[in-house]
Amino acid sequence: MIDIILLTLLVVVAIAIIRMKDLFAVVMLLGIYGLLSASFFVAMDAVDVAFTEAAVGAGISTLLMLVVIAMTGRKEKTNRHKPLPALCIVLITGGLLIYGTFDMPHFGAADAPIHQHVAPRYINDSMAEVGVPNIVTSVLASYRAFDTFGEVVVIFTAGIGVLTLLSVARRKEDAEKISSINDSMHEQHLVIRIVAKMLIPFIFLFALYVQFHGDFGPGGGFQAGVIFAAAIILYAMLFGLNTARKVINQTFIQLIAAVGVLLYGSVGIVSLMNDGNFFNYNVLASDPIAGQHLGILLIEWGVGCTVASVMMIIFFSFAGRLELHQHNERVKNQESS
């Protein structure tokens, strides 16, 4: 029942997103959309996914969009040409897709084809083969480790892409001047700074808990990385970019992003050298189960490092750009006045 209500709310939010012209409101609605879908995932038993979506969809993506809107302006121009052709295409495609659903297995059916193929093996044998209670973790890090490796590389590549597109090369004195102006703006938010100071250590602790408890409950490298980055981003927002840059060295996090991927890949290489297949952790230790545990620990660690540092790289690149834009505008205003 609750899933039907959540899905209906999702449709309402999606329609509101179409109709809104104010981009700020659109981004806020997108955050609500993310949070609603996370709640829906909990109702569908996908606790790990809900965890990730709540941190990413409702947290970091909203934040990034807001930073971009601060640079590009928040009003959408009303488009003059009629959206009728688009509506036609969408309605025809949607109608065909709905026609297609009549052959789909019903919601919740236990005999659907998707539950017949490899899932029974994961559910029945993963305890004996991998020895980790959370099946999602054992599939993610052991059975489909090669797949996950690809995903981590994609994240790393996206991080590099953002860095190439947005990194700002500037002289040191300039940077200090820009940042000192921006820092003075943060002095006034006293209450939230003190609360954040109290909370940030616990957020880090929680991230580490999620990282290392992922074998037994919902959690793992992806979620932990995002939460860790969120704590740093919170710090940067409240105490100024310059202070955050002093705490977190930019070259260092770029290095960590690469080291995470390298750690992941080298686990595969080591298992190859021990006469196993790529990412076959059984050969890592004398006991296959101990080997699996070691492999999963190392891989989750690599994933966590890469995800956390890529998220930080992305945020710092965007925020640095925004700082530069604000500085340029200020200079322009001074010259004109």
Binding site: H189, V191, V195, M198
Partner: protein
């Protein structure tokens, strides 16, 4: 003993649900931003807090109890802070409470009628 626990937890859950519900109505019915935010603040802190207390009373497992206690602490810390930050941001951007702006309007009218 069981009876007392069930009844008291039901009591807290009921109060919590009522506060959440009244908060939602307040969000829809109140006239301006600050009063609406008051309604949301009540839902955030007191409504959620009461529901958590109710759940804590019926929890049999200590681990569940401890987790709920931590969530309660977190809501008590974060709820008021977010309300404060929201109100501050709104005030800094020049949004005045409705009663205040009405008063100003009245004052202006009085002063203009006097002159």
């Amino acid at each position: 003993m069981d009876m007392i626990i069930t009844i008291s937890s039901g009591f807290f859950l009921l109060i919590g649900s009522f506060l959440c519900f009244s908060g939602a109505i307040g969000l829809l019915r109140f006239p301006d931003f600050y009063t609406r935010m008051h309604a949301v603040g009540v839902t955030d802190t007191l409504g959620a807090g009461m529901i958590l207390v109710g759940l804590m009373i019926i929890s049999t497992d200590f681990l569940v109890f401890a987790k709920l206690a931590m969530v309660l602490l977190l809501t008590l810390l974060i709820g008021p802070t977010t309300s404060h930050v929201l109100a501050k941001a709104a005030f800094h951007n020049g949004l005045t409470p409705k009663s205040l702006s009405n008063q100003e309007k009245n004052n202006k009218e009085i002063s203009s009628s006097n002159t």
